[in-house]
């Protein structure tokens, strides 16, 4: 054996990395056959919705991931070149065990679950997505959150050679997002590493992304390379660009309109030409789980 540096795939069970081609070939089968032939080992979750998930094709070819271009099809076209192995995440700030963690180390001992979540974009479309992931709280507990920490800040990879969208200053790279600590610790909040039982396709934020199902999609930051525990509310990308339109909280809320899009209703991708619209649910239907996080807050002010 030569002395090539160890990659996370070398120390990760084979089912966690499966090469891309095998993934693409297997994806269709997995989509119909379900967990039996799936590449990842995971358990079901009581947090999953019983709604019918969107097809893998829909979920992987209709993406907002400006690192790969602003068009919805750009990510599926351009994300193939992204190197996701090796991958490491810097975990820093107010934590007991800061450091640069290899992805395999991040995933260690975190039980994977399938979370079939509603996904609601601020542009007023939605999907149902069968994520595979683990609770962010599991990772935060492992690295040890210090008492002064009030928020969690996230950053996406910056690598313009592989992320052509970053070659123009459409957004202020790196893409940044953040959560209040109690939001981050909520059991609904997951770090996803898979989709439809297989490793996450690049255009969906491989190898690891956040999923916060009661917030608009832009909060669910992709291809994460940094997680910082901080005392103050961190700057977040869309909020920096247009604070009157994109708040820090960005909770799905049919009664608080975005200036461009009414948030009262949404179009479900895959509903067909005459599928029309359906009413948007408060907190995207996760009111029971998360409403208490915001009790006493004026949600029209903290949008």
């Amino acid at each position: 054996m030569n002395k090539a540096p160890l990659r996370w795939s070398d120390v990760t069970p084979r089912h966690l990395w499966l090469n891309r081609r095998a993934f693409i070939a297997g994806a269709g089968a997995a989509a119909v056959a379900g967990p039996a032939v799936a590449g990842l080992t995971y358990s079901p979750s009581a947090y999953s919705t019983s709604e019918e998930p969107n097809s893998l094709e829909e979920i992987t070819s209709y993406n907002n991931f400006y690192e790969f271009g602003t068009g919805k099809e750009d990510p599926s076209r351009n994300a193939g070149a992204l190197t996701t192995d090796p991958w490491s995440i810097v975990i820093d700030g107010l934590v007991d065990r800061p450091g640069s963690y290899d992805l395999a180390d991040v995933l260690k001992d975190q039980p994977l679950e399938e979370r079939i979540y509603r996904f609601r974009c601020v542009e007023a479309w939605s999907m149902i997505i069968p994520w595979i992931g683990f609770q962010l709280s599991g990772l935060l507990n492992r690295v040890g959150v210090q008492p002064g920490a009030k928020y969690v800040a996230f950053e996406t990879l910056v690598r313009p050679e592989e992320m052509p969208g970053q070659q123009s200053p459409i957004l202020d790279w790196p893409y940044r997002e953040g959560l209040r600590l109690d939001e981050a610790m909520n059991p609904l909040t997951i770090l996803a590493t898979g989709l439809y039982g297989e490793v996450l396709p690049n255009q969906n934020g491989a190898p690891i992304r956040l999923v916060v199902p009661w917030k608009y999609g832009f909060k669910s930051i992709k291809s994460i390379v940094r997680i910082s525990l901080v005392a103050e509310e961190p700057p977040t990308t869309w909020n920096m660009l247009q604070p009157s339109e994109y708040g820090f909280y960005a909770n799905v809320n049919p009664t608080v309109d975005h200036p461009r899009w009414s948030q009262a209703s949404e179009r479900r991708i895959g509903a067909g030409l005459f599928g029309g619209r359906q009413d948007t649910l408060m907190f995207n239907g996760y009111e029971e789980e998360v409403a208490s996080l915001y009790s006493g807050m004026d949600l029209a002010k903290f949008y």
Binding site: R260, F274, G276
Partner: protein, 202 residues
């Protein structure tokens, strides 16, 4: 240039109408063959809006091209009516496919959302132009009044381009390019108008 003019004289106007509806038939074809991706509704709406804007810009280019010696004025009515057709279909797609006939929400959008208000204004200014596009209407109005009325198209094109710029997130290049094209085409008129006034007063 003379060759181009001679060539254009041999193109029947109906050919322009025919060519102009091809993109529409293409959209219909793609719709029927699932060629519009995971969100056909948005794809249809966006393509129709973009075609409307393209025909508006093309229509605005005809007069400056004539100053440059290329005379396509025969086709201007066809280009304008095609623009109206695409913007109407764009609006229809919004009402039926996108909004799913949710009248209350549409009414709210029409008073609240600036890109919708400006789009609607741009569409509204095109209605009198389409209505007065017949030879009979031109005769009835007289050329001077007709010309004055049809300057409304400046509002339609500017409105359409601003509408596009307002509805995108961040600053992608396409809407900026359309707005720049409209501003240049209108600016050329202003510039020429100014020079003529200077020439007259000299």
């Amino acid at each position: 240039m003379d060759r181009l003019n001679a060539l254009s004289r041999r193109v029947p106007v109906n050919a322009v109408y025919l060519a102009g509806v091809l993109p529409f038939l293409w959209i219909v074809w793609l719709t029927l063959t699932n060629g519009l991706g995971p969100d056909p509704v948005k794809a249809i709406e966006l393509r129709l809006g973009e075609l409307g804007l393209q025909f508006l810009v093309a229509g605005l280019a005809i007069t400056p091209l004539r100053w440059a010696g290329l005379n396509l004025i025969r086709f201007r009515r066809a280009v304008g009516l095609l623009a109206f057709f695409y913007v109407s279909m764009h609006l229809l797609a919004w009402v039926t496919l996108d909004m799913g006939l949710r009248w209350e929400q549409m009414a709210a959008d029409l008073v609240k959302r600036w890109y919708i208000i400006i789009g609607m204004l741009a569409f509204a200014t095109m209605i009198p132009l389409a209505v007065t596009s017949t030879n009979a209407a031109i005769r009835r109005l007289g050329p001077a009044a007709w010309n004055r009325l049809h300057r409304l198209v400046y509002v339609s094109a500017l409105g359409g381009a601003i509408h596009y710029l307002m509805l995108v997130k961040a600053w992608p290049v396409e809407p900026l390019a359309y707005l720049a094209a409209v501003v240049v085409l209108l600016g050329l008129r202003l510039w020429r108008h100014g020079r003529r006034q200077v020439a007259q007063s000299a």
